[in-house]
């Protein structure tokens, strides 16, 4: 029973054995002791809740948030003890927030339910009881034979039994799983492939044994035992036999497959992974502030409680004759009374931590994140991709980035490979107009080079055109018979998972060796017009550890041979013959030109050797345990004693504006690290060409370190070197092996070196190493904010590790995009994303947070001060309705609109002056000083409101004179509620206007909500005070507001106090602006001088001068100055921050710009 519960809760894996046995068509063995294994049904459940558990589960999850819990506690306290404010004041907002969140989550879950039902109810065809039966997707059981037609998705993980093709192959795309759009070939084992009809499938008696479900999409280990012609044949099953749920059948009419993993056990479902929550620096600061305010709250409550008891010590204050206690109060225990007093004060002041802060922040983030997707500048026309926001939690983090880690291939470069050069048998060739021309030969040599191609050259070309996993798709290839027809050959298109391969195959086609296709067993090429058919025996797939791939083929002449291609470091060591030294030299030369290099080699097998290899491969491939290890052993046994054929150099074009982007990032104070898997020379040359390294930089190297001590010595040497030489900038090159040494023992030293280098390049990096580097930086003492950007699956770990992960929607699938926080189409968009959007979001949210705390300090401090005048009796200053609505209605919208639209500087300016990014770096707006400023400002304003009103109401002066509107010559009295309302009115106006002063970007919406909020407050108050509310317990506010407004003095007081509050603040900002202007402020001034036309485009020079001159002159006259020099300066021509000359001198000049 207990186990059952644990299983249901997901603690215990329900299956105990390592493998599952699937009987095809559920033909279980007929002996008695067979216990059927239990499998999950094919129902996909992505929803979180059911109707029954929605309320408890959702509430539980919501109250796990610390803030919600805090408000719940406050609410409960209010319910339990006699508190000054009614439970409604905190219960209502809490209820509102919880309900809205619950509705939102419930709606999302309902959508998921709907989607689930749609998926689970989709019609599928299953072979049952001798025929094809239509049923619902959710009814598929493990062991069922499922029929899938062309362009349908697979309803479960199926092992392919047969297709309509004789050889039992089919093509699928896994675009919805990993985003790879190429066609993949999957095949059935030959014994089942012949059963192409329902009746023959019925006859199959087969058992599949495979691993228990696991999430890895590319791993499947199993074997099938088929009763074929009265004998049991065992065949290995691998990923190529498995059709994954979610993938789509292509180019094949129909297939039959047996379901092995169903429902939540399919690989797709197992890959539903909730991404780990990343928290932004702003959120962390916010939590710190919350803590500080909690302390302030506790302090105020404790102080009030103590003072209350100090007062109460004397009976005349505790219980004067006019204000007796009830019996109950007198008799309650002292300690209980003390605690309840403390709690009452806590409740009274609890508004200092505003519940609406969270709601507003969430809304701001959610709504604000739309602007990224909407941005036309982040839209890539060619690929029709706009920027994509996967999480809105990190918007402001974009404005805080200090380190950028970028992948090279596909991120800095296009990942669009172009074959450029090759080295064959020690001779270097270039491709010119589809011809191979030996290096050094003049380009206008006779074009009959073809005939000059030697045997080796042709073998090399054939090797290149055979050793790959490229697929061919025919655009209008409906009938399979058309495949061989020459007429449509020109329409064929190569699909490859790696762009290198595609580029190589296309290059050989241009030169004359055309790859025609591969039908699973044979590969055909047309070599200079001659059709050659090779029998494909084995493919040793590429993997990152071996860094090479091979094919074993039977040549038309019957010889068995192996072609391999891979990184030079993984092939040259195993090479026996060939021009090894020359080729190595050539490879280095090619790499220096920034080309990606691959080395091609071959090996001839004797028949005996081949039999041995075949046997070993089969053994390893059918192994159920440790298949990978055994395969790796076999591969290394096969891949040796190569004969070197040559090397190719493939160019990867740089993306546009990479150089400018890197330069801009650097000027913004962001350090850029390039992490790549490429080899040292290639990486350095690309680094140089994309402006990551300057020619003037001193490049330090930490490469090919073999031992710990050696590495340490080198590190110390570099460190010394850097410290000696301050003037010049340093760049560091590290390779993967040295890095792992450096990280193992000398992390600190390494970090020191890295921090002092303005550019770091890490080459030969494994994916996990990339993540490690990011983590190293992230956890270093300064705790810098890191950003990782990449496009491939190998960047995923880095993207997930960094504070902000950005995926490039490139050619290497969408895995990076799916795991990223933001996705963009091009590297160049990064500068706008960070410099403009990051800047906007940061200032918006920072001001939002500060302002929220400020306005609640303003709100609650008068209540605290009032306690000094009412014997600490917890009397509220404001009416309950005002307490409740202050944060919800009266002051919420202006800040929300501000936080959606504020722009300190125009986007163009931000993008052109990356130095402005430095103004907000290191969480500048939420550091100690601004926080103190806002908090103190809040307290000061609160003091002014309270004591201003206090002095004004006077000890006993009434404010209403005979100038009042309602009744002439009557002087009426104000009570405590009028006093509170006066303070509240002043506060609402001041707090709203304070935000107005902070606003630099007044759209019509800002105007609307700012003035609208104040107007709403007045209208609401008039309405609220104008009616005797039948359901309210007291009528304290009846006509209070009208009486207040009918007093002339009250108006004078409101104007005076509001101005008194705001003016010191204005003066402060003006003084700072003039004495210590930040770059941002300077820019604002300049921009202002330039005037209107400047904003239209970046190319404004002197036009603005004219436009602004009248305004400027008028201004000057007003302030008594007549110098026209102040206005009309343009930054475009004479800009101190940015120039086209990207030298170090410019950079240092920026830093030295006098303030």
């Amino acid at each position: 029973m207990l186990r059952w519960i644990r299983q249901q809760l997901g603690f215990d894996p329900p299956h105990q054995s390592d493998t599952r046995t699937v009987y095809v068509a559920n033909r279980f063995p007929q002996h008695d002791h067979y216990i059927p294994q239990k499998f999950a049904d094919n129902r996909i459940i992505s929803s979180k809740y059911t109707v029954w558990n929605f309320i408890p589960k959702n509430l539980f999850e919501q109250f796990r948030r610390i803030a919600n819990f805090y408000f719940l506690i406050i609410f409960l306290v209010q319910l339990m003890i006699d508190t000054p404010t009614s439970p409604v004041t905190s219960g209502l907002p809490l209820f509102f927030v919880i309900t809205v969140t619950a509705i939102k989550q419930g709606f999302e879950d309902w959508l998921r339910h709907k989607a689930d039902n749609e998926v689970n109810g989709a019609p599928v065809y299953v072979v049952r009881s001798g025929g094809l039966v239509q049923t619902r997707s959710k009814n598929i059981r493990v062991g069922d034979i499922v029929r899938v037609a062309k362009d349908e998705t697979f309803p479960a993980d199926l092992v392919l039994l047969s297709s309509d093709r004789r050889e039992g192959t089919c093509h699928v795309t896994t675009a919805s799983l990993d985003g790879e759009t190429n066609l993949k070939t999957h095949s059935a084992v030959p014994e089942t492939a012949i059963s192409q009809s329902v009746s023959s499938l019925e006859a199959i008696v087969a058992v599949i044994e495979c691993h228990q479900p696991e999430a890895d999409l590319y791993r499947f280990v199993g074997r099938i035992t088929v009763n074929h012609c009265e004998e049991e044949i065992v065949r290995p099953l691998g990923p190529e036999n498995l059709l994954l749920r979610g993938a789509r059948l292509k180019n094949t009419k129909e297939i039959f497959g047996v379901a092995v993993y169903t429902g939540m056990e399919t690989k797709m479902a197992l890959n539903y992974k909730s991404k780990s929550q990343k928290r932004s620096a702003v959120e962390k600061s916010m939590n710190t502030f919350l803590m500080i305010y909690l302390v302030i709250l506790l302090f105020e409550a404790v102080l009030s409680t103590i003072l209350k008891y100090a007062w109460q010590a004397e009976e005349k204050w505790d219980e004067p004759w006019y204000n007796q206690k009830t019996e109950q109060e007198r008799n309650s225990s002292k300690i209980l009374k003390f605690i309840s007093d403390f709690l009452a004060f806590l409740v009274l002041y609890n508004f200092i931590i505003p519940i609406s802060l969270y709601v507003t922040v969430e809304m701001q983030k959610f709504l604000g994140s739309f602007f990224i997707g909407w941005d036309l500048d982040l839209y890539h026309e060619e690929s029709d991709q706009k920027a994509q926001v996967n999480t809105s939690d990190l918007n402001e983090e974009l404005g805080q980035v200090e380190y950028v880690f970028t992948d090279k291939t596909g991120t800095l470069t296009e990942n669009e490979m172009q074959f450029r050069e090759c080295s064959i048998n020690g001779v270097k060739y270039q491709e010119i107009n589809g011809k191979l021309v030996p290096e050094g030969m003049a380009e206008d040599l006779p074009d009959a080079v073809d005939s000059n191609l030697s045997e080796e050259d042709i073998l090399f070309l054939k090797a290149v055109s055979l050793c790959h996993t490229v697929q061919i798709s025919y655009d209008q290839a409906d009938g399979l018979g058309d495949r061989q027809a020459n007429g449509i050959l020109h329409q064929m298109e190569y699909y490859a998972s790696s762009p290198d391969e595609k580029a190589l195959v296309e290059a050989t086609k241009r030169i004359g060796v055309t790859f025609n296709g591969n039908n699973g067993e044979t590969m055909s090429i047309t070599s200079f017009g001659k059709l050659e058919i090779y029998k494909l025996l084995h493919i040793l797939e590429f993997d990152a550890n071996r860094r090479r791939m091979s094919v074993i083929l039977q040549t038309p002449s019957g010889e068995k041979m192996l072609f391999t291609k891979g990184a030079e470091s993984s092939i040259l060591p195993y090479t026996k013959t060939g021009e090894i030294d020359k080729t190595r030299m050539h490879v280095d030369e090619l790499a220096l030109k920034g080309l990606r290099t691959l080395v091609i080699a071959c090996r001839h097998f004797t028949p005996e050797e081949y039999i041995e290899i075949d046997r070993r491969l089969h053994e390893a491939r059918t192994a159920l345990q440790q298949r990978e290890e055994r395969l790796a052993d076999v591969f290394s046994y096969i891949e040796k004693d190569f004969e070197l054929l040559g090397a190719v150099g493939v160019e990867d074009k740089l993306q546009e504006k990479v150089q400018e982007t890197i330069e801009a990032l650097r000027m913004a104070g962001i350090k850029v690290w390039v992490l790549t898997g490429d080899k040292h020379e290639t990486a350095v040359s690309v680094s140089l060409s994309c402006g990551h390294f300057h020619r003037t930089m001193n490049i330090l190297e930490l490469v090919q370190q073999k031992s710990d001590s050696e590495c340490a010595v080198q590190l110390r040497r570099l460190d010394k070197r850097i410290k000696e030489d301050h003037v010049i900038q340093h760049g560091l090159v590290v390779d993967g092996a040295s890095l792992s040494l450096a990280l193992r023992q000398h992390e600190k030293l390494f970090m020191d070196v890295c921090r002092n280098c303005s550019a770091v390049l890490c080459c030969r990096m494994a994916p996990l190493q990339k993540a490690k580097v990011v983590r190293l930086l992230k956890t270093s003492p300064e705790k810098p904010i890191t950003l990782a950007i990449g496009d491939g699956a190998n960047d995923v770990s880095m993207i997930q590790e960094a504070h902000v992960g950005i995926g490039i929607m490139g050619k290497e699938g969408r895995q990076a995009v799916r795991n990223s926080d933001y996705a963009i189409a091009r590297f160049k968009f990064l500068s706008k994303l960070l410099l403009v959007h990051g800047h906007f979001y940061y200032i918006r949210i920072a001001t939002l947070v500060q302002y929220f705390f400020y306005k609640n300090v303003c709100f609650i401090t008068p209540q605290f001060l009032y306690q000094f005048f009412c014997l600490f009796s917890q009397q509220t200053l404001y009416d309950s309705v005002y307490l409740t609505l202050y944060n919800i209605c009266f002051t919420s919208l202006p800040i929300l609109v501000y936080s959606l639209f504020e722009q300190l500087v125009h986007p163009h300016v931000l993008q052109n002056k990356p130095a402005l990014y430095r103004d907000i770096s290191k969480n500048a707006l939420l550091s100690c000083k601004p926080f103190l400023y806002w908090t103190l400002l809040g307290f000061c304003h609160a003091f002014v409101f309270f004591f201003g009103s206090y002095l004004l109401m006077g000890e006993d002066t009434s404010l209403m004179g005979n100038g009042q509107i309602l009744k002439a010559s009557r002087q009426l009295m104000f009570g405590n509620w009028t006093f509170g309302t006066l303070v509240f009115t002043i506060m609402v106006i001041t707090v709203t206007l304070k935000l107005a002063l902070e606003t630099h970007f007044w759209t019509w919406m800002n105007h609307f909500v700012t003035w609208g909020s104040i107007a709403f407050y007045f209208i609401f108050s008039l309405f609220y005070g104008g009616i005797i509310w039948p359901f309210l317990h007291t009528q304290d506010m009846y006509f209070v507001f009208v009486q207040l407004l009918s007093s002339g003095s009250a108006w004078f007081a409101i104007i005076l106090i509001v101005i008194t509050c705001l003016f010191p603040d204005v003066i402060k900002s003006v003084f700072y602006r003039h004495l210590q202007p930040t770059n941002t402020q300077k820019t604002q001034l300049n921009r202002n001088g330039i005037g209107i036309s400047c904003l239209d485009s970046m190319c404004c020079f002197s036009d603005g001068e004219k436009a602004c001159a009248p305004v400027g002159r008028m201004l000057d006259r007003m302030i008594g100055r007549c110098s026209p020099t102040r206005v009309g300066r343009s930054w475009s021509t004479s800009d101190p921050y940015y120039s086209n000359d990207r030298s170090i001198l410019t950079l240092s000049q920026v830093e030295a710009t006098p303030c």
Binding site: Q324, W374, D375, Q874, Q1035, S1047, S1049, F1052, L1056, V1070
Partner: protein, 372 residues
């Protein structure tokens, strides 16, 4: 006034014909709309606070505030006010005999005690005069006190009359009967009676007519406070209830005028509006000017006659009587005028300082910005 620019922005004149047609072609493009809103290019006013922009504001505020302040100050100074403390804590004071001090510990003042305080007006109070009583150290704003009332009872609700709100405890029931009006506020109604006499030089006195209606908010008197079952026959309506413990007379005997009796007695309504601060004054009576020639209160000697009931000694309170004229801006309050003058002067002064800064640093900033 603000050095600002309207960046009335490029209203997206970009969508060219070519883009339009390509968008309408078969595939729906993911291209974001080029609208000012989505591109964050809404036309906006972008004010910047610089010395140049705020300087005029400073001067303007200075120039407006100082005259207003002077005006307010003068108005306030023209208001005549006299305050007479009649608590009688000191043996030399006329009301000492009536105060609790002299009676020792006997809490309940048994017989009404009357005392007289004389004072002299050196200047006549020309316009209408308002008469207040003032209390200090009296915490009408104590939470237990503030909430100790039943608004629906005071609004004339019959059920609340016989069953007052729990908030009224411990002044809810007395002798098993509901108290009307219930609660601590009502119970502690100020019950001194003040009379004012003009003393002619020959020694004879003439009582000055005090008007007791029109001292409460109109809405309070007519809407918020109502007698149960109309203003007539109050004795019958209140028959099931009992007077508050400290009261000498029941609520329906507060006045003989049916329009000022019961819950709508204006003295009672004024008292029920709890004061914000422990030292407060409440309007007691009006002294209206009889005609345009004679002042409301002429220069001369006056006697204040007090029927001394209200005990304030226990909490060291003070009792005062205040006579004051008012202006359009209310009672005497020099603070507002002084504050306006101060703020105005500070603004003006800062304006000058900023002007200097602007001249000195404004130039320097500009020259620093210009690169070589």
């Amino acid at each position: 006034m603000m050095a600002s620019s309207y960046s009335a922005k490029e209203e997206d004149g970009h969508p060219s014909g070519a883009a339009g047609t390509s968008n309408s072609s078969a595939m729906k493009s993911k291209k974001p709309d080029n609208t000012a809103f989505k591109q964050q290019r809404l036309p906006a006013w972008q004010p910047i606070l610089t010395a140049g922009t705020v300087l005029p504001a400073f001067f303007v505020i200075g120039l407006i505030f100082i005259p207003i302040g002077i005006g307010l100050f003068v108005t306030s100074n023209n208001i005549k006010e006299i305050e007479i403390d009649y608590t009688g804590t000191d043996a030399s004071e006329p009301c000492y005999s009536c105060s609790d001090k002299s009676k020792g510990n006997s809490t309940e003042p048994t017989t009404p005690c009357t005392c007289e305080v004389s004072f002299n007006l050196e200047e006549p109070f020309e316009s209408n005069v308002f008469m207040y009583y003032g209390l200090s150290n009296f915490y009408q704003n104590h939470r237990r006190y503030v909430k100790s009332r039943d608004d629906s009872q005071l609004n004339g609700d019959i059920s609340s009359l016989t069953n007052p709100s729990k908030e009224c405890e411990p002044y809810r029931e007395s002798e098993k009967k509901p108290i009307a009006p219930c609660g601590a506020i009502a119970n502690s109604l100020f019950n001194d009676t003040l009379k004012l006499f003009f003393v002619f030089p020959n020694g004879s006195k003439s009582e000055i007519p005090l008007i007791k209606k029109g001292i409460a908010w109109w809405t309070d008197k007519n809407v918020k406070f109502r007698n149960p079952g109309g203003n007539n026959n109050l004795t019958a309506v209140f028959s099931g209830t009992i007077k508050p413990v400290n009261w000498k007379i029941p609520v329906y005997e507060l006045d003989t005028d049916p329009d000022n009796n019961g819950f709508i007695n204006e003295d009672f309504i004024v008292w029920m509006r709890t004061a914000a601060l422990p030292t407060f004054r409440k309007l007691y009576r009006l002294i209206e000017k009889k005609n345009s020639i004679t002042p409301a209160l002429a220069r001369g000697n006056y006697t204040l006659e007090i029927i001394y009931n209200y005990p304030v000694d226990k909490f060291e309170g003070r009792k005062r009587m205040i006579l004051s004229t008012i202006s359009w801006m209310g009672g005497k309050n020099p603070f507002l005028g002084i504050a306006y003058i101060t703020v105005g002067s500070v603004c003006f002064f800062l304006g000058v300082v900023l002007l200097i800064i602007h001249h000195k640093y404004g130039n320097r900033n500009n020259s620093a910005d210009i690169p070589n």
